[in-house]
């Protein structure tokens, strides 16, 4: 078992050079101020009804029950295979498919998939198929009405559980851990869906909510009348419904990525996290999420107070504007993991049970090429992702302020902008190494 950060992996990135970090932070702040103050004085993005409708054939295929059933059945087959490999395959993490498939290919791969294709996990979620199959056998859902008031809070909770497993639990990379998690997650989620109705998954399945949230920055959207449209990703993000718990989900994602970065610094490994045990990891993860939450809620509420808006709804109202920042963090931290350690999944998929002589795709003998992406390219992607995320976040927050009050003063947004700058500097700081 490895004790490295983020579930599994054999390497971490080099610290980005100080010069690059400083240029990045400077560029982010400069660009966002220019955009904010000079070029963006009225709402520019379309709302929930904007976008160019997709052809009818695409709409029919995407909404087709048959297409979804087939895709969900395929995803279920893969999930069953991975779980079986976790139980019956080689018990050494380095040779078992399951930890790599879950922690790298699925969890990290969900980000580019959702960014390019839209809310994919909602379409292929195998738990939805299981739920449809079991629904006739149990009484009708009893608590469907209560679900709406919970918003996305259930998903935030389940995400914390998964992130704790991925980043803190010492046995996170063991195949057995992965198998028990996958089975337990499926049972609990399907059970809750039987109680609350099929709407549960959009509110309580952490993976589906994560995918849907990232897809808010994809060019694929759905108008309020249900029509699928192609539209500006920023308009898509602006149209995110401000439901309860949205801010919690975003903050959990941002805070956990910050903890992942923190946990591989020398400061953490020789200081607060020197014990390298469950307790110090749990405290670190909770502290990072709490710090991000406190800063965000403070910034959003202060901005709301300056603008004379009701403060209580501010964190929820502005949560979608933090999605690009969380996405930038995620890309910066996990891009190299997917590109380099992610190769392991495809090597091991060729022989999931480690049987002698089995080599389905002819890749089983391949070695992971840790030089496939140069460290310079990784550093540029990291700085670029954090800077771009920051600029888009500030832009979205500005648009949101203009939508709330047409005559909003730019200075009212200063507290929230300061918090976003702190997130960017903090994100670059963690990548800067130590």
């Amino acid at each position: 078992m490895t004790l490295l950060a983020h579930g599994v992996g054999s390497r971490t990135d080099l610290p980005i050079p100080l010069g690059l970090a400083l240029y990045g932070a400077g560029a982010a702040i400069l660009i966002s101020f220019v955009v904010l103050l000079l070029f963006w004085r009225t709402p520019k993005l379309g709302g929930a009804d904007s976008g160019r409708p997709l052809p009818d054939a695409v709409q029919r295929a995407a909404d087709s029950r048959a297409v979804r059933t087939v895709l969900q059945a395929l995803a279920l087959a893969v999930a069953v295979l991975v779980t079986a490999a976790a139980f019956a395959g080689p018990q050494e993490t380095a040779r078992n498919l399951a930890p790599w498939a879950l922690h790298v290919t699925f969890w990290v791969g969900l980000v580019p998939a959702s960014l390019l294709l839209g809310p994919v996990w909602r379409v292929v979620n195998p738990l939805r198929l299981l739920h449809r199959a079991l629904r006739p056998l149990v009484p009708a859902p009893v608590a469907a009405a209560r679900l709406r008031s919970l918003g996305l809070w259930p998903a935030a909770g389940f995400l914390v559980v998964f992130l704790w497993l991925e980043l803190v639990y010492p046995g996170r990379a063991e195949p057995t851990t992965v198998a028990v998690f996958l089975l337990g997650y499926a049972v609990v989620q399907v059970g809750l869906a039987l109680r609350f109705g099929a709407e549960w998954f959009a509110a309580g399945d952490g993976f589906e909510v994560y995918s849907t949230l990232i897809a808010r920055l994809s060019p694929w959207g759905r108008r309020e009348d249900g029509r699928l449209v192609l539209r500006n990703p920023l308009a898509n993000a602006t149209a995110t419904p401000a439901v309860p718990g949205l801010a919690a989900v975003v903050v959990v994602l941002l805070g956990s990525t910050a903890f992942d970065g923190l946990s591989r610094t020398v400061f953490w490994q020789t200081g607060p996290g020197a014990a390298n045990d469950t307790f110090s990891g749990t405290v670190g993860l909770v502290a990072c999420i709490a710090l991000v939450a406190a800063l965000y809620v403070l910034g959003a509420r202060l901005s709301g107070r300056l603008a004379g808006q009701p403060e209580a709804v501010q964190p929820r109202r502005y949560a979608a504007t933090v999605i690009p920042i969380a996405l930038g963090y995620t890309v910066a931290h996990y891009f190299s993991l997917l590109a380099l350690d992610g190769q392991t999944t495809w090597i091991l998929a060729s022989n999931p049970f480690g049987l002698a002589g089995v080599d389905l795709f002819g890749t089983y003998g391949n070695e992971v090429d840790l030089t496939a992406v140069s460290s310079d390219a990784i550093a540029l992607v990291q700085v670029g992702a954090v800077v771009l995320g920051h600029v888009l976040g500030v832009t979205l927050a500005h648009e949101r302020a203009l939508l709330s009050a047409r005559r909003a003063r730019a200075s009212d947004q200063l507290p929230l902008v300061v918090v976003m700058v702190l997130f960017t500097v903090g994100g670059l700081g963690l990548l800067f190494g130590f």
């Binding site: 054999s10 971490t12 610290p15 923190l262 406190a294 202060l302 507290p415 500097v425 700081g429």
Partner: protein, 148 residues
């Protein structure tokens, strides 16, 4: 957080939090500069940590030599984050008071250790990145090799 709380305390809290955030960064930079301090307080002081710091442990034409001693679960010598130039020849020497196996992640190299006998691995540091070097059985992290 109550919505009617006074503005000043809230702002002060924000500054304090910001200070915490940037404060961590400052501490971290210091930690890098002194990356060869002993990582465990329980280590015996017999081999005092030489302040070789971030300068290569002992760079020469023959490459870089990194020496680590494990006593009673504590690690001393070239611990912490050890920078190595890409492509350089690295000789890793580990002496432990228990039987174990050294493992260099990423490069996937290993050498078995017998108590008191130095185990040696020599390799060319051709893969850039940060790689942990650990004892395979006890999971004790000896150092992080920073190649680049």
């Amino acid at each position: 957080m109550s919505s009617r709380s006074a503005r000043l305390p809230a702002a002060l809290a924000g500054i304090a939090l910001a200070a915490t955030l940037t404060g961590c960064a400052g501490t971290d930079a210091d930690a890098t500069a002194a990356s060869s301090s002993p990582s465990s307080p329980s280590s015996s002081s017999a081999t005092s940590p030489a302040p070789s710091s971030s300068a290569p442990a002992s760079a020469s034409a023959a490459g870089q030599r990194i020496e680590v001693t494990v006593t009673g679960g504590g690690v001393s010598g070239d611990t912490g984050r050890v920078p190595v130039a890409a492509g350089e020849q690295v000789t890793l020497v580990v002496t432990s008071d228990t039987a174990d196996e050294v493992h260099v992640h990423g490069y996937d190299l290993g050498v078995p250790l017998t108590p008191g006998q130095p185990g040696e691995i020599t390799f060319a540091a051709t893969i850039p990145g940060v790689f942990e070097v650990e004892l395979h059985e006890s999971h004790t992290v000896l150092l992080s090799l920073q190649v680049g």
